[in-house]
Each structure stands twice: as structure tokens, then as C-alpha cells.
Symmetry: D2
Subunit: 359 residues, 4 copies
């Protein structure tokens, strides 16, 4: 399959560019005869859209959902579901000075090297605006998962060096969204806000870690050998712009324990779940969900669009300097929360549909 598509049973195709007609998503394989709550999808888009508050770019997009295919009387009919989100406030002129200069950390240069031609306006296809489509698709997938009582929830765990000290109980969306930086621990949130206020003044950016937790995933989801739960989820998450690492359960910290310390003791067996005394594994064994919560950490680098002048090269390879003027987020993590949730939901739904294929 060509690489703007992902998934086997639920195939997601991502199209559009930051400063073209708009952003869209093509969804194939979604079960027919399913009632879709379009308002919930719009709400998910609103969580990702620019201009939400002082920590997000001032680009003004309504990100209004259009349906081009797949629904009749609000129910799916088996044709691909195609959502489209038009670009309105695309100030292409802001980018005229970027046509011949490569922004450090941006994909301008690698796109030119690869394709010999690019849409230089606002990153074109490499812009994270493409994720609007993913969020719409993910919000649809979540409506499906909820029918099985499966919940995907993501939140900001860490920005720069500030992180939630103690593990949080599975928070509600309200717990998360009542923080302007989507960190459900009030104290940590305030520290992050203060940090970002300062950072914004300098025009610099920060990265961080988003945690995603999946509750009530039944045991048996994930396909060895090459469709392991963590591999499929990872494939989706590692396509998100600025992600530099992911881990499951105790992740890189599990390295610091011995096997006798790290093994999760089995303490019970239910129809669709194992019970374990601890959850170091983060909900999967041998690539298959075990019924315990799936716990995922996603590391985002600080994004590259800083406002101070930087040394770089132009398209001829000559040294020059650049000062980026467009509208950018000091920290993308608050807006990336629904993106992470969506990608996890899409990965899990893809595997869940597969799961029917057994005697």
C-alpha cells in the first residue's frame, strides 16, 4: 500500500496540505449501519484546532467538518467515509521568504531532496495541520470503541523538565481540558503555564511527554508475529510530527529492574482479562493485550519554529540566516493530546476488527 494510507482492516488515507484547499481523511473499512455522532467529531476537532488559547498559534481556523462520502441519514453505508476541513485563514504570503531558504529542523530540505518540488507555504504537506484529518477519523473510531466500553485518554505528563510527580488516576476529559495545557494535575499545570508564559516571550519552544492510557481493552487484541499491539500502536504514533520516542508500561525504566522485580504476577483470570498484581508491562504480553490498562508514553521534541534569527542554508546550499515570522505554538503538546488519542484509537480499532477472524 502506498504510504499516505495506514491500517489493514480500517484503512486511513490522509490528504491535503496546510495552505491548499484543505485537509481531508479517507476512511475505509468502517462497519456499515453505524450511527455517527457528528457533533462529537467536531468537538474533537475543536480540541486540536489553532487559536484555542494563549498557548496556541493565532491562526484562525474554524476547522468545520464537511462530509463528502459514506453517510446516509447519519448512518454509515459501507462506502468510504471522507471528511474534509477547508483551509480559511491560510496566509500564504507569510511564507514567501521561505521559498528559497531552509528552516532549521523543518522538512523543507528533505522534501526538496526527495521530491524535487514542494509546496513551501506553511510546510505544505509536512505541516502538522494534516493531523486535523486524523483527529476526525480518531473521533469516529472512538465512537466505535466506546460500544465495547474501551476508553482512550491522553494528557500532558511532562513539558520540558516539569512533570507530574505521582501517577494520576485515569482522568476525565474535563480534568484534562480544564487545564489550558491539558495537564490534569493542577499543580503541575500551573508550573507549566508559568514556564510557557516565559518561553513565549523569548519566542522559543518546548517539548514534552504525552501519556495515553487505554482502559477496558479486552485480552486478545494484537497479532503476533508482526502485528503486535505495541508495534501497531507504535506505527501510528511514530508518524505524528515531532515524536522522537515511545514506550509501553515502564518502558526505558524497566531496564533498571531485574526479571524477578519486573515480572507482573498473575493473580486471576477472567473471560477477557488476566489480572496481574502490577502492570509493568503496560497491558500486553507477547504482543497481545492481557486485559490490564495499556499505558503509553510519547516523547515530543520541542518544535522547530522559534522566532529568533538562526543560521541556515538556502536551496543552493549557501550559508544564510533566517527569521521565521509565521504563527506558531510555543508548545504543541496541548493540541497534540487529541492527536495521540486518535492515533491510538485508530490502531486499536484496526486490531479489534482483525480480532473477529478467529474460530
Amino acid at each position: 500500500m502506498a504510504r499516505n494510507l495506514i491500517g489493514k482492516n480500517l484503512v486511513i488515507g490522509s490528504f491535503g496540505e496546510s495552505h491548499g484547499e484543505g485537509i481531508g481523511v479517507f476512511i475505509d473499512g468502517f462497519p456499515a449501519n453505524f450511527f455517527v455522532d457528528l457533533e462529537k467529531i467536531q468537538l474533537a476537532l475543536n480540541r486540536r484546532k489553532p487559536g484555542q488559547n494563549q498557548y496556541t498559534t493565532s491562526r484562525n481556523e474554524s476547522d468545520k467538518l464537511e462530509i463528502l462520502s459514506g453517510l446516509f441519514e447519519n448512518k454509515t453505508i459501507g462506502s468510504p467515509i471522507v471528511f474534509f476541513i477547508r483551509n480559511n485563514d491560510s496566509k500564504s504570503k507569510d511564507y514567501d521568504n521561505l521559498k528559497d531558504v531552509y528552516r532549521p529542523g523543518h522538512a523543507d530540505a528533505t522534501y526538496d531532496l526527495k521530491y524535487g518540488h514542494r509546496d513551501h507555504r506553511g510546510g505544505g504537506r509536512s505541516s502538522a495541520r494534516i493531523t486535523a484529518g486524523w483527529v476526525a477519523a480518531g473521533a469516529l473510531a472512538m465512537q466505535y470503541l466506546v460500544k465495547f466500553n474501551i476508553q482512550c485518554r491522553a494528557w500532558v505528563q511532562q513539558i520540558h523538565t516539569i512533570r507530574i510527580a505521582q501517577s494520576v488516576e485515569f482522568p476525565s476529559i474535563n480534568d484534562i481540558d480544564s487545564s489550558p495545557v491539558r495537564c490534569p494535575d493542577a499543580n503541575t499545570s500551573q508550573q507549566i503555564e508559568a514556564f510557557l508564559d516565559t518561553l513565549k516571550e523569548t519566542g522559543d519552544t518546548a517539548g514534552g511527554v504525552i501519556h495515553c492510557s487505554v482502559q477496558n481493552l479486552p485480552a486478545g487484541v494484537g497479532e503476533p508475529i508482526f502485528g503486535k499491539l505495541q508495534a501497531i500502536i507504535g506505527q501510528y504514533l511514530l508518524n505524528i510530527n515531532a515524536v522522537k520516542g515511545i514506550s509501553y508500561g515502564d518502558g526505558f525504566n524497566s531496564v533498571l529492574r531485574t526479571g524477578s522485580e519486573n515480572n507482573d504476577t498473575f493473580i486471576g483470570l477472567q473471560e477477557n482479562a488476566l489480572l496481574t498484581s502490577s502492570n509493568h508491562s503496560g497491558g500486553s504480553i507477547g504482543g497481545i493485550s492481557n486485559g490490564m490498562p495499556v499505558e503509553i508514553d510519547v516523547a515530543f521534541k520541542p518544535t522547530s519554529s522559534i522566532l529568533s534569527a538562526q543560521n541556515t542554508i538556502n536551496t543552493q546550499g549557501e550559508s544564510t540566516t533566517i527569521k521565521i515570522d509565521g504563527r506558531h505554538d510555543p508548545c504543541v503538546l496541548p493540541r497534540a493530546v487529541p492527536i495521540v488519542e486518535s492515533m491510538v484509537a485508530l490502531a486499536i480499532m484496526d486490531l479489534l476488527l482483525e480480532n473477529k477472524n478467529h474460530e
Copy 2:
């Protein structure tokens, strides 16, 4: 595609079980008319096989390569290349006591929950012995990559809390293999050996981090939007048994820097590469290789087969204890080095073949 297959242009199918006839790999899409050095593939298998030294399981397998398809006069002819490695020293009896009890941390229970039936002998299909086929396929892919001067090299960076303090220059295979734990820093290697000697006495196990570096990958490899270099490599690596996290470049540490500190400054442009003053990104921007080395960290949990008695449940969900007697590695990382190398090579070759598809 069903999930025992991976790849788009170079498709790898993995088959066999730990205690069945043997382990095999089905390789489709490898270019025809390519001379294969079978001895090199056998050497790669030897790096992975059990019984290499005191830190590996004593299972005695020659892991001799058989060719079932795809070669004529040692050249590929376009049919799938199928390698097969027979099981010889499979002591199935060792596992009779495991038929009705779930080993903590092992996939016995999740396989039963998923499939309703499993081969309980030595983990059956969930055994890491399956990776013998991947290593054979990877060794073949590396012969292809070398024609383009691309080098994949992995080594042990950390075991438990012991890690290489300073970054190492790209080591030779000899640098790596002269250490019995495949750690090319002599001082660190000795500490790890001492640690594992002690650990072995207690029957416990350790995890760690394997680092993989890819040199001379030309710019332009990797397919946005959903075939990003890090997503495709990640998909392969996250299917390796016991892997709990992966990261690229500075990975989770990049979180601790601001954008102005983290951006790699462009300092030059070549036909197939960008030059950057630093390599925080680990060789890719926007999901596309930029010509700088690709740097990957892979976290392995300590494996689950410890020799002390453990509490667990049986297949009826009742509490019991278990003592595992089979032959196991105190630390799988030395043997996992060729596995990591192979999975990275397979991912990169898959993308490299794609790369021809442009004007």
C-alpha cells in the same frame, strides 16, 4: 495483509515454532539476479544462535541454513526466497509441567485467551527462536544495502544500570563481537560481564538498551505521511520480543531542551545529504532521512524466565507456584544485537525499494 507478514516492497513472512519442525522465513520482493553470499547469512545466524558462551542458553542448535526457494546458481530469480532452520535440540519434555500453568511475564496466557489453543512447548510460536528467520532475512537485506554503502550496526549500550558513558564512534563488528556481551566499550563490557556472572548465580535476568546506528543512508528515504522513516523502523523493532520502547536521536532526552537548543543547524547541502552541525534528530526530518547517521535506541525489559519459584495461576485461574527449568539466557541483549540490526536493515531496504518510485 495478515500479521505474520511485514513490509510492502520487501515482504517478510515469519513461520515456524520453537519446538516444531523448525523456523523459517519467506522473503518476497527481493530483486532478482542478485548474487547471495550464503556464508555471510550463516555467520549472522551464528551470532544469534544459542550456546555461544556462558551468557547464553545452553540449548544446542546448529541453526544451519537451508534454502527452499528462490536461488539458482546462488543468484536470486524472482521467486520468494525461503530460508529454513531446523530444530534439533528441542527438549519438549522440559515443558510438560508448563502445559497447565502460566509462566509470569510469558505469553502463555494471552495466547490461550486469544487462540483457545497453543503449542506450550518452549513458548511455541511466542518463543524468540522465531527471530532466527528474521536474522537470516536481515543478513540478506544487509548484502543489498552494502551495495549502496549503507551500514547498519547495533551493539549493547546498557545492561541494567551499567551503560557506556561516552558516545562511541561507529564500531566495527570485531569491536562488538570481541566482547562476550557485544558491548564495544571494553570497560563497560567488563562491568556488565561481572554483573551478569553474579546475576546468573541467582537465576535472575537483566534488560538493557541496544543502540543501532545506520551510516551513509542517503537523504530522501522514508515516506510521509504514514511511512515515516521512524514509523517504519519502529514497526519492525517493536515486534521484537521484550522490547518496551524505542527512540530516535536524543529521544526522550530531547524533551529537556528548548527548540533553540535542539534545532540542528544546516551547514551544507550535498547531492544526497544535508550536513548539520549536530544530530539531535537522529538522521531524519519530517519522516525522511537527511543523510546524517540514523541513531536508534531500543529498550529491552529483563526477560521473564527466572529460575526462582514464582506465584502464578494455572489455566483454570487458580493460584499456584511455578519453577521454570528450561534453558534460558540471563540477558538476551547480546543475542538480540543481530536481531536489531536485521530489523533495521529490513525496514530500510523496504523503504529504499519504494524510493525508486519517483520521477
Copy 3:
């Protein structure tokens, strides 16, 4: 891959419904940096669109091409190319009486049995209007093929019992389109026109055979074992509405000859082609093109929308009668000519991109 997508290297996703927002096509894998002549794509759509002349439905659609993604300054940039064609003259009211009754020969009943829910307006997703997207995609593919001097050309060979007696030389588009029924043999065309004039009066419909010829396809295209040239082309053609059979070269007539009569004698060898004294095989041997013209016949059944009253059942399974009032073609073959051409072009381009994957 879910089944509204087709292709491996060039993936085509088909979306939309007859009486929804419109019809679209998602094209992934098309090479970047390729200049697209949009006017030629519009011309192809015009050949398929309704209301062309007395032999086509009077539905009045401009079928104007919109571009939602993939082009910048009229050149491809690597994002999926998405074309959209809005529905304008969709008289949904015409179909109100069809909500609860199954039209004989139509997919109403099978869709209900499969999905439990359908868009009953004009066939919804089962309408051949969906092929507008395929024609747009095919017209794009043909621009790519022409760069390699490859020509796909289809025409009406037979309607009902009237067929071109002698084989025709590869006709020009003008030869074909100067006939209102797209039959390049003037005498046969006139007979067909007279037949259709009569048929139209009775409200009945006719089927026929479309022939497609591909010139200058180099030898070596097609992938054994399961991507044989005829299998891939067949997969595309057999998805066209109303197609009931396809054949290559002498097809079903080759049965009537012995091997000694049927073998094409090799008489020369060029860089990209074999020369054979005859072309019974229709341009492929062993599933691989041999450089001779590819010759394909496609059989279309007479379409089901006849105007006379018919016995049928309603959605409850009860006997009833139906009289269909919508606007329909007495014979779809003239409009199906660009569809056949498009599907063949898409199949061949998919294989041609694959063809680069060899040493």
C-alpha cells in the same frame, strides 16, 4: 487493505455516492514533481458523463473536476491526489418509490442483505456514477503512460448481436468518438445506432463487448506468480459494473485450436520486446508482457434498468411489480469506453511502477 481501494504502488480509493455530495477518488503513490494537464482529465470525464447524446441518460451533470489535494502549481507534490466531482442534478425524488422495492438485476437487495442499510437514491454507492472518479484517475495515469509511449485505447466491438466483422487497426480517439456509440467501424456503428433507436422505444437495454488494446507496452511488465499481467488487469476490469467476462488475446476462441496452431512463433528479439509472427496470446506470456500489443475483450451484460413493468419482491420478500422511471442509458457501452480505458491504464501503471524494483 479494505476493499474500496485498489492497487499496490498506485493506490486508488473510490468514494462518494450517486445522490450524495458527489463522487471522488483518492490517488496515492503517483510520482511527485509531475506536471498534470487538468484539461485532459476534464475531457476524459466529458466522455463518460451523462447527457452526451441520444443514447445516454438525460441526467444533466457537468461533472466538473475539483482538486482537493496533491497539486501545487499544477505539479504533483507527493501528497495523495484527490479529485472530486459534485452531484448537481440528483433527482432523489425519482427514487422514493424504490425505497421498499427491489429492482430486478440491481444491487438493492444484496446491499440490504449485506449492510442492513443502504442509500436507496439512484443506487447510492452501487451506481455506476462512481466510475467518474475512476475515469479521472485513469486519465491521470494515461498522462504518465504516454511519457513511456504507452497507449491504451478502448472501443465498442459489439452491441447485442452486431459486431465489427474484421479486426480494426488501432483506431484514433477521433475514429472512435466520431461514432455516437464509440464504434470505430462506420458500417457497424450505423447498424448499432439503428438497433439502439429501436430498443430505446421499447425501453429495453442492450449489452456488448468493449475491446481494449494497449500499444508499446515494453516487455517485462507483470509479476509472477500472483501479479500476472492478466490477473491485475482483470481485477480492475471485473470491478466495473455490469461486466460478466473478460478475455485476453484469442480468449475463449483459443480453446478451439491445438497447441501447434495456437503457439505464437518467436521471430525476433529487441531490447524491450519479443517479436512474434502472430499474437494469439494477446501480448503476455507467463503473466509478463512480451512487447506485443495487449488485447482485451470485456463483456457487459445488458443493464437492468428497463422501463417496462417487472415482477419482483419488496423488502419484506413479498411479490410485487415495479416500473422504473429514472433516467437511464439504453446501452452503457459508449460511456463505458473511457471507463475500460481508465481501468486498464491504472492497472498497467501500478505494474509499471513495480517494474522499477529490479536490479
Copy 4:
């Protein structure tokens, strides 16, 4: 997916060569925990194997089934099922004179043009011996289909100009196999036998038509838009060596009727089936099964290995003559009957697994 693989939910990989180690098949996606009757698979192989009677090649192969993966205690466990059939009586020497000369009608030349290298012994990978693996896989699929009461049955309908005059009732395997040419109509069989006896004396070959009928396929199988029942079945059948055409229901003959004559009148509705007064469509409408029998015709050209001297070219393109001495079938259709059955069964099982993916 690379092209030695076919299928989405049930993926079949075909490997091996006529004169290499053997022929194999890799089967991924088959449901776990399914009891396999291996004897039935061997019986299917016996129906395809050479040396059955006077109408088949005298190559003497036992075609004994080996199982390399996927079964434990005769039940599937979720790993790929890999069957292997060793080559025993491969007289490579017979082919030494073919190394530098192209056999008319054979794929020698197109393989050389495509791959630049080939296994010239007995056709190597292009040999129909590859279908042994397909038959093993198909026999497995049929065991799955039978659980749903679905029956695939194929037989010889026509050889050269001799065909069954009247349509036959769905015959038993015994009806078919009691004829040495697998034609269940005794009178026609005798005529064919007499014809082949004569043909054999001249060393010539004959083609024909195999008919395949699928009984009890429930309504709802087949995936619009691009996974139509006829397209998926066609993709499988058109990969069989020597097939030049396929058709469904009345196929090319439906062209000769008008819509009012061709429409199948709906006369009843059951839970999983429509009842129609006729079955011109051959069991599908809109690409979806309707519950009526699926009727398929497959045209085979006369195979190319005739014994008389033929004009041809050598690998340098120079004129020469060739006389083929190997062991060949005067007519491959009797042995192709289980191949057709297998390919149809594999296609239908692939779609049937898909069919679970609906609400």
C-alpha cells in the same frame, strides 16, 4: 504486498520451483484452533499430481505433503501454515538443450527480459508445478468452507470443440473423477478421450473450458467497490497458467440478450439468500453474492509444449528450431480441475473472513 502473495485476510504465498528443492505454500490468516484433516489435503494433491493416467505427463512425483509450520496436535495455532512438497523426479538434464533457446509459447523469453536470469530447468518458477502449493492451500480452505456448508466443485466442460451439450446438475466428486478427463458427462467424456488419444499420437495439445460451481454461498459475500466477488475470484483464476479468459453466469453470451430477457426475477427472500427465477447473473449482483449458485467458466489455451519441431529464436535473437523432449500433458485440463477449485475456494474464504467485519 509483493506479488508472490495473494489475499487480504487469508494470505497465500507461493514459493519454490519446478526443479529446485520443491514447491511450497505459506498460508497466513487461517483461523486458529481449527482441526485439519491432512489426508484430505493429500487426496487433493493426488488429483493434481503428474502420472495419474495416460492423459498426464509421466513425471513421477509422489507429491507428499510435509508440514513445516502452523499445526500442533493437528490443530492450527495461529502461526502461518506452511506446506512443502519436495521434488523427486526432476530430470534437469532433459532441459540442458533449452538453456539458450526460447520455447514458443513459454515464459523463458519474458523471464529473461524481465529478470536477466532464470532457472531454465523445466520452466523453473514459471512451471505449473507451482500450483501444487495452491492445491494444498485450497484443500485446506475447502475444509473451512464446508463448515458453512459451502461447496466448490469444478469439472471439464469442454475440450477443444467437444463440450457438454446440456447443463449438468452439480456433480459429485465421484461423478467427475470416474472420468479420466474429469468430465462428468459420460458421453462427452468418451468423445474427449478419443480425441486426446489421437492428439497424443501427434504430440499436439488441446485447451478447453473448466466450469466451477459454488453452492450454498450465503448472500452478502463480496466487497464493493473494488472487492467485488467476481473481481476477487477473477484475480485468483487469472493467475493460473494458460488461462485466457473467465466469465460469470452467462458471461459473453449475456451480450446476446436484452435487459428484459436477461434480468433474473426476484421471487423470494430468505435470511441469507435471494431466490431468483433464473440465474443469468451467476450468483452475484453488484459484486455481492445473492445466495444463488456462483457459476464460473475458465478458458484454458492449449499448452505450448508440443513435440513437433518448431521455429523459434535463441537467447541472441537468432532464428533456430527447437524440438521439446520433456514429459508433458497433451491436455492439462483434467489436472487443472483441482487447481480451479482451489483458487475459487481461496478467493471465497478470503472474502468470507472479511464478511465478519460488519455490525
